[in-house]
């Protein structure tokens, strides 16, 4: 397998053999290692010394279930720290099946207004991947729903696409790297942390990958792989949350809306309440029922990427019965819905569609709108106003640029005190005053506020992997630490984090995940090694951040969450600083 080194300053590339040190790495483990070893921590995120690293997971490209994840890494323009954001897309196995362990994009062209795309294919004659650099100016300044069909028309249906949107071209702190879904649409995102801007800063508009003829992923121990694959697949197929026609397949991730609302932990109107009176109208059940009404039949969800058993992606159909958008995720309907006081799925659908079109992270977009609403730019609940503001972001007007810069910057620009961010990245859909463990993850994660970095919601809210009182801070530092380390491992395997629901409750599923990875790599990890391997990744990320000036003082909640009790539980965030410091202090 190869590491592909791309130098955008002269549009050249070379294939490197994978060094021994990188042999056991994949996904997040590999992106974070390369970034921490090669990117100067104090470099400008949009300057020539940042790097953008794409790495499929260890088992990505194999037949392992629910494993088509691509990790994207670099120094984040949003947080100033290290960033890994992963997405599910056929792009990930395509790259893996070309024998590529990582693509490292370096340098930047002198002419900052010109854009290029990379066409990545298999050179059968040479027996290795081949990269062509093609002018891409014709794809810039455009809606990605317009760009993707053009690229498919040009490169064929076997193409897989990674691209940045106009948000990246504008250099927004809120800008993701977009990947195609199973319907060739631009809906899957490595959304968080502004990596779309890093891509654009390198003059790179897209990487079009076609794995036809590629060698596939080498599996060292096929029997062990089959055994592990079966264990994990069986676990996924039997757990209530992950099984076919189970929670996620029926109602999507937005099944959480009612659950979190009930728990008083659904951040509402810029984190001023934990309960939203309109929650039921934007919940997963409402999506299911709404589609049923409009289509005249029950619609179960589909996979975002090949080989997924969970299949949690929905499509939302408009009043005319035509597809409006995929996907109304929990995070998206929350951020652009409850957090903005909006209770209309047609509005959230349109806002999500615009985020996809412009290359924006839906979480950051919704929290930014929430802060803008708190500042009085538009009132809470103003769906039309929100849609107009999204268009401003797409057009790059001054108003749009403020919002595009992200939640923290919008708070600064408007002088708002209640800004729900940690390390410059906005909080996702769980109120830390009502769910203390996830608050600890927000505060301490190397990524800035990020629920996927250590999803303690499992025991705190879902009774998955045990049970913990969400309102209590007791024992939550250790809980968050264990989840953060395990997550770093899962993010390296290439599995979707949602396998966690099954493997936390079903030990054989957990074994299966480890066996798959061992089988591919020829490694001998035990279950105990999962936390060790994950911790090693976290330590690298933490060291990068510290060298970038992001130390333990940045592992803190915004002040308003310590001062203002949150209804309905009327609690503040009361986790002591010492507990926060212990998360990485005792790693």
């Amino acid at each position: 397998m190869w590491i592909v080194r791309v130098d955008m300053s002269d549009r050249s590339y070379r294939l490197q053999d994978v060094s021994a040190a990188y042999k056991l790495l994949g996904g997040r483990g590999l992106t974070s290692t390369i970034v921490s070893e090669e990117v100067p921590p104090l470099c400008h995120p949009l300057g020539p010394n940042n790097k953008l690293v794409f790495a499929p997971g260890i088992v990505t490209g194999t037949s392992a279930a629910t494993s088509a994840r691509i990790s994207v890494g670099g120094k984040s323009p949003l947080t100033g720290g290290i960033k890994e954001a992963n997405a599910g897309s056929s792009w990930a196995p395509a790259v893996a099946n070309l024998g590529i362990k990582a693509i490292v994009v370096e340098g930047q062209p002198k002419d900052k207004d010109k854009y290029w795309l990379i066409h990545l294919t298999w050179d059968a004659q040479a027996g290795k991947p081949k990269l062509e650099f093609l002018p891409a100016d014709e794809y810039t300044g455009k809606d990605l729903y317009e760009v993707f069909p053009k690229l498919y028309a040009r490169f064929g249906v076997k193409a897989n696409i990674a691209a940045c949107g106009v948000a990246g071209e504008y250099g927004y702190g809120n800008s993701g790297v977009c990947f195609n879904d199973m319907h060739q649409a631009p809906t899957r995102y490595s959304g968080r942390g502004g990596l779309g801007s890093v891509m654009a800063s390198k003059g790179l508009k897209a990487i079009v990958a076609d794995a036809t003829g590629g060698p596939g992923v080498t599996i060292v121990d096929k029997a062990l792989f089959d055994q592990g694959r079966k264990k994990l697949a069986d676990a996924l197929r039997s757990h209530a949350i992950t099984k076919p026609k189970g929670g996620l397949n029926s109602y999507g991730t937005a099944i959480l809306i009612n659950i979190l609302n009930e728990a008083g932990g659904l951040p509402t109107r810029n984190f001023s309440s934990g309960r939203f009176e309109g929650a039921a109208k934007i919940a997963g059940e409402a999506i299911f029922e709404g589609n049923k009404q409009r289509l005249g039949k029950e619609l179960y969800n589909h996979a975002c990427s090949p080989g997924c058993i969970i299949q949690c992606s929905n499509t939302w159909y408009g009043k005319d019965g035509k597809e409006q958008v995929s996907c109304q995720e929990y995070e998206s309907v929350w951020s652009l819905g409850a957090n903005c006081g909006i209770d209309d799925l047609d509005v959230t659908g349109e806002l999500i569609r615009l985020c996809n079109a412009y290359g924006l992270d839906t979480i950051e977009a919704g929290t930014t709108l929430g802060v803008a609403m708190a500042a009085g730019v538009i009132p809470f609940g103003d769906g039309k106003g929100a849609i107009k503001l999204l268009h401003e972001m797409g057009k790059g007007t001054p108003q749009g640029r403020i919002l595009g810069a992200g939640t923290a910057t919008t708070g600064r620009v408007y002088g708002v005190t209640n800004v729900p961010v940690v390390k410059g990245q906005s909080m996702p859909a769980y109120e830390p005053r009502a769910v203390k463990g996830i608050g600890i993850t927000y505060a301490t994660s190397t990524m800035g506020a990020d629920h996927t970095a250590g999803y303690t919601i499992c025991p705190e809210i879902l009774s998955v992997g045990g049970k913990a009182d969400p309102l209590s801070p007791e024992g939550k530092a250790a809980l968050s630490r264990a989840f953060q380390a395990t997550t770093a491992f899962i993010d390296s395997t290439g599995h979707c984090l949602f396998i966690a629901f099954a493997i936390l409750d079903i030990p054989s599923g957990f074994e299966g995940m480890v066996e798959e990875a061992n089988a591919v790599l020829g490694a001998n990890w035990t279950g105990d090694d999962v936390v060790k391997v994950g911790s090693a990744i976290l330590k690298k990320e933490r060291a990068f951040n510290e060298a970038a000036g992001i130390g333990k003082e940045a592992d803190r909640m915004p002040e308003f969450m310590k001062l203002e009790p949150l209804p309905p539980h009327n609690q503040v965030f009361d986790v002591p600083d010492a507990a926060l410091d212990s998360v990485y202090g005792e790693l």
Copy 2:
């Protein structure tokens, strides 16, 4: 003497006796002590837990020459660290002569849209200062050139005014606290670091101080005071830079334009060159000649505040022979002129007037325009465009808010890599690649990039207090450290920093400064104590910053200054990190 504690949450106040620990403190030493002891380092700068501290210097209010400085302190919305910004104004001695050592403004009202002013007078009957809280909504949303006359009309000509402008009301990171000059105009600023917003966040529009009947400043040893006062005054009257009809009195601070341009250290067009072809047209000499032409006579400068010997403030007269603005300072004509590619004093005059009107720091405003020009918002050299943008800032439009948030935020919003800031505060008028010592001060100062924090320009450019090669990094860390510590002492005495020109070259002047302070306080400081006392202040400030998450990784130049050689010397900023770390490491 008293510390006045103002609580804006219920508009109450109390007078505290000065504790033993505060007896020897004044000015910056006192504001930084109070802030570091009482303000939670991680609080939101615009939230209820920040404090705004006003402290006249130790000798302010006495007859000591050039000593009418007021220090304003708090946690900075611009840097997130501790801030002290001082200004010369009759407001300073007025407060001192009321027997007040500091005013500490705490809390904030529930109703965030209502503003108040404090009328501060002497209560002869009670024998102590008296504060009245009066509604001030009628003064909000207005040009300060409109507000100040209204306040003088209401409170009389003996009033002295401290106020924030609309920039503060909007919560801008660029917002100063404005004080009256000798002509009752709103032209003297504690400009840097956004303290105007802190004032506004407390619902405090103005503090109107009238010292009539006040007890004056107690001097413990009058004979020593007279001796010291004479020594310092003699030095000021004899040094070429500070004497009547000397450099500053003739040409103002803008005398430095030609000197820095010649040295290749005048930052031009957003720090892309050290030389500006239009420098001579905006230099102090051009101001002098321009006024002479328009008035038909030579005009020497005036004092910004009572008792100043140096008298460096100019007034610029427009084409119609009428006063346009005071004061075209070096920093202002540089930032709004050379740094924007503008070579027209009528344009810089108007831009400065608008900064005064709206409550903006001219340095931050000009560097922000420079970054906006680099981003292509308007072209370099576009004076009309610059004036329009200043008006946008005054109106609080989205475009104006971006710029009002300051240089660093504007850089983020437009995705600009070449942003001349340290710790979020923009660099003043000396190019660190051409003058290495001042670059070390920018990098390491507790205040963010700040020339007044350690003005090594004296030996590096002006041959004052010795001589040092500006292009060499050798020995400059120690030089900056010594200047930073000495400056912290001067900023505590209440003397204008410009006494440094005289006291660096004339030892008796230096002695005089120390003797004045000893005489007022009954202290026994020697010349050697100056650095010790100053260092103790710096250590407090540094500790606050570290607790706020601003450590040594923040003591660094922006990356572009290390990568891109600056014409005409084609040098990068080559001071090693270890040298930067030694400034505070060896304090």
